[in-house]
Symmetry: D2
Subunit: 378 residues, 4 copies
């Protein structure tokens, strides 16, 4: 189903940018988990618009209403969790001329080709980046549950335009590397002004974004995500592996154009003896010494961190004039996109990628645990 993903833990996202509400239904959460709604609100705030110069001025409280799925103690109860966020601040008039003239880089044209005019256009409809809010709501709860099981997930803004943050210390799997990674994750918890490991880099990225905005333009970016503490043996061969599951979900984030795990595209130029992660004995157990595999082999977790990067294209909606076509007349048309848009969608994709990773990893763990060792809350 287009708007759903997951095998045991399934998230179904609903809503349009300007519908009465947006939200999601989460099926398959283990029962008895006490959801921390304050922590969830704090996580949602990381994605919320209207936070800085890089962000759209549209302000939405993004308050999550729990319609169902909790018992009177506030714990998951085995029934589907339904979360809703009401749309309160919409300005449909901004989008009037978009009905006829599709925005380059957006789904306006493809939605028209698919639904012949019945699609909901204002604000991007179901394709709007705003639909990542319910993903974050669902994912924020998955993050809480995983944290309780010792799994931590963090993303950072690895690149904006030509400015690059340092990489996660995750391609090595040594104890030293793990300590360095833990320190990076800690720094990210309070990162400012942007979610980068190095604050200097964050400031340079802000300049890059500002420069794009001044040019009535936008800029792309790269988000790197790491997931630590997942035991070995989670996932499945072939089409339900860790990578398949994360990749399918990640391409559900608007603007993602590529994903790579571990050494990623670098493997094309590597020799086998460089890429293969040798095994060592650590604490009496077998572990990969390095982590070019990015935490999964044959779709199954190795116990090393899952690490992946997603490429985010520049925001499609830009204020400068672009060539398009009037679909009602099939004549060329010029387009200038008004409205409120982030010049760099990669920034807000940082918490979204954590949410998606959490949902994919939690689903993998629930669906394909090491045989006979299910994920259990108690």
């Amino acid at each position: 189903m287009p708007s759903s993903f997951g095998t045991t833990l399934r998230v179904t996202v609903f809503g349009q940018s300007h519908s009465e509400g947006i939200g999601c239904v989460v099926e398959g959460l283990p029962a008895g988990f006490g959801v921390d709604l304050d922590a969830l609100a704090a996580f949602m705030a990381r994605r919320a618009p209207g936070q800085g110069p890089w962000s759209t001025p549209r302000k939405e409280p993004d308050a999550v209403r729990v319609l169902s799925g909790l018992n009177v103690q506030g714990e998951t109860c085995g029934a589907p969790l339904a979360l809703a966020i009401m749309n309160t601040n919409t300005r449909s008039r901004d989008y009037d001329n978009l009905l006829a003239v599709p925005r380059p880089g957006h789904a306006d044209f493809t939605a028209w080709a698919k639904w012949h005019g019945s699609q909901d256009v204002p604000g991007g409809g179901h394709f709007s980046g705003r639909l990542t809010a319910p993903l974050c709501a669902a994912g924020g709860i998955a993050l809480q549950l995983l944290e309780e099981k010792g799994v931590r997930i963090r993303s950072h803004l690895a690149q904006v335009g030509s400015v690059r943050d340092e990489r996660f210390s995750a391609l090595d799997n040594s104890p030293e590397s793990a300590r360095a990674l833990a320190s990076q994750m800690e720094r990210l918890a309070t990162a400012s002004p942007l979610p980068t490991i190095d604050p200097e880099v964050g400031r340079a990225m802000l300049d890059e974004i500002e420069s794009a905005r001044r040019d009535l333009d936008s800029v792309g970016g790269l988000v790197e995500c790491v997931c630590c503490g997942l035991p070995a043996g989670v996932g499945s061969p072939m089409f339900d592996g860790i990578e398949n599951t994360i990749a399918r979900a990640a391409f559900g984030i608007p603007a993602v154009k590529g994903i790579e795990f571990g050494a990623g595209f670098g493997v094309a130029a590597m020799r086998g003896h460089e890429d293969n992660d040798p095994y060592v004995v650590r604490d009496g157990r077998c572990a990969p010494a390095t982590n070019n595999a990015g935490g999964a082999l044959g779709g199954i977790s190795t116990g090393a961190p899952i690490v992946f990067r997603i490429a985010m294209k520049p925001t499609s909606s830009i204020a400068r004039e672009q060539d398009s076509v009037d679909l009602t007349t099939m004549e060329p048309a010029k387009l200038r996109v008004h409205g409120r848009h982030d010049p760099c969608v990669a920034v807000r994709a940082v918490p979204v990628s954590e949410a998606v990773c959490a949902l994919a990893v939690l689903d993998s763990w629930l669906s394909w645990p090491p045989e006979g060792e299910p994920l259990s809350l108690s």
Copy 2:
């Protein structure tokens, strides 16, 4: 399900490297399609082992037996198509020591972590690259069906180590670019010695592969795939889009570590006005002038070619000595992998990527066609 993918067209792959047989069941093929079994055999031959210096000496006829799914005229009949390939040439002894000592880069360790010793080890079991043969059998039929509907899919070996082939002329969507692409695809139909657009490059890649083999090593590569002729409006928003579907399937090919569409990871450094594909009127219809999107926006096809690249890691099985762990004693162990292995799995991944692309695209077309315009054989 781990070994299945697809929504309307579902492929379930079975088999282990050394089981009695391998194969697949394909559900959801439109009825009334006359399968060309000779053309299928020719396609299978492109993937078959034992073809050159870059390939494993294991020779398998890979003859596909159709157990069911065709009527007496040899057409699909609405019932599941079951294809089997018997395993005739297996040498399990080669793998004896692998039961205890996992090969770096392979799924031996993760399968052990998952199944605690019950997994089938010889030849990689269900994780073996040999399991791409049934994928090619299913995909070969999908390719035939798509071709009849005007859709053509071709891959080439874009990179091996440091040697690169020219790219597909697919990031532009002009008529000139389309002609150049058609010519590239034609050249690939008879490419030798390797599936490259430029034969010189193919020879240089062969040297690179030979050099790796001499070093008792292996080398990675990049495969680029293009799909032309798909109409606009195929696919779906969010999690069943063209990219999600291809990505989920592609990570089912052993050794894939990354995938990117259109401008791919390059988007991170791009500005919006560069990346956005403006629309133009062509033959009275709206079309993107360029194709940085790689043929899909919001998960839905634009009518421009679908183009993607997958990164293939070097073959994990290498003959030089590697560090590992004896899982029965949890003591360090040295490992030297015997057996017959391609030093560059990217080569045979070329037809496999075409097969996977065909299955994913055909499934998308059958599942999510432009509203009210189903894919139909007549």
Copy 3:
């Protein structure tokens, strides 16, 4: 997924009897269908509680809020339709003693065995008959869409205790029988006081129900449903046939204990020449002369009416004293269920069965139409 069903048209139901809201998400509706919200409200009213002596005194407006899924013209737009009904009239104290002492015939004990105390108990939680309201909301829209395509669905109360209504004229497939059936369906549109073909029977059933209530008891019933106008060729062999799909969905209605199609359980005592429906030529087309098959052969529609009956057990919640067990002490306990409960759930199951039939038939038509002839709105 437990709370979801459907292949192309998928309904995911959420909510508990006493949660903030209940509702559903409907994925896969064809785009461009103008939903008649007034007609939907009228259909919902047929199921609503508080309508007569046979019904629970709990009054719920059951107003359906459309959170998303429609465009600005009020038409389906390709995005998931999210429907919510707020819970406004809940009295949790009624259920306090049920936390420890499970009600016989209810899911209290099995939910406890499954979730070990985390389940939401008040009002039956996710198991409450109130969850049929969102099913009716989704099904009411499916009914509208089917009606536009010439398919009509109607149910009646075929039996309450020992009182039986006449059967639908649907086991014959002659033109005369079709006329008689049409007349029965018309009478049902204005049936009173209960949804029976024969109003006399309705009054007798009311007596039966009143008698049960006076005895602090409840009574079972039988609901018969017919679906006319579905073309031949809809459905699929084996596990996605018309009967499989309806049966799986129908057992999702609380209190259903059996389902039969066409001649149903009567076939056990029949001979082949009696049961087989011979074919005749009608209007130049082949049609079954009789309809013992109940409208489907091999899972695929014959063009004759789909007709089935579901057995509804007596309401589990009865006011008389019953034996149970205190789960906190594992000591025997007596139980008297307070609260507001229909003495005959079969009455309100009449519209619910229409809703479920509509969803199952519409999904079958969308998923498994005659090859190359998809259901289309235009």
Copy 4:
């Protein structure tokens, strides 16, 4: 998918009556289970044709070939289990005239309406009762695995025409009733000449069947199935409950027209205080004293036996002349079905119902166990 069912344990059935082979792929079996192939052959023999006067003279060895899914120790290994049965004894000429003239009661007409002539007609194609052989192969393994976990499943021929066997002692849940049921199940293990609890009844049924055959006719029947030993808490609310899952699968058996659980259709005439199963303390645990619920409440097992009955229509293929239509000319036509057919399909449905029950119950247990208590082999 039409030919697949199951959530965690998924069976995909392939084959046509006269294709090269038939079989199935079983995904999701726990790894490490040693399959007893001799016991499987013995189970298959119970369904095999050519065993008595009530059976078709077509003799098929029905030898199951394991193409994949076992390790070298003959244990399940986490990879899909592929089972094939070769078709060796086919007589397509018997079916020549059926291409144009559909057999009443069979799927010939509906398959034609669906696939417009591309369907495989000989022997019923994918609709043939022969396709229950792979179901039995898969189910036979599920039965072995369940038996090891203390779950026993048995069916008997409860009715043929007007002759009825005694019912399973399963609507009571007392220790005495359990002993009586155990004794009935034991008697069934060696039942002769038909799978009835009472051998006298079996002989009378044989007469009924012989009488139908002499009349060039066939006769319907009823099969009752019981499943003992399943713990409480298995299954799920709404659409993935025990009853939904068994019902969906059971309607995949050709000729099934109805299914009922526990008190079944009898509930329509019952009062709540009669139907409700009170709880008692037994061995320090809560248990239902009676079992009108048939072992499930709210879709979740109660710990009492799962008991259900399926109505089997008379064999459609009968030798006497029937009215039909020539689909090539749309003229009335007379039909006399030659070929080899059981006059009572209910007989062979007895082991098939056990197989289907085992698959549905095992899947429910694997997919929806009591929270945190997965089914595990060790």
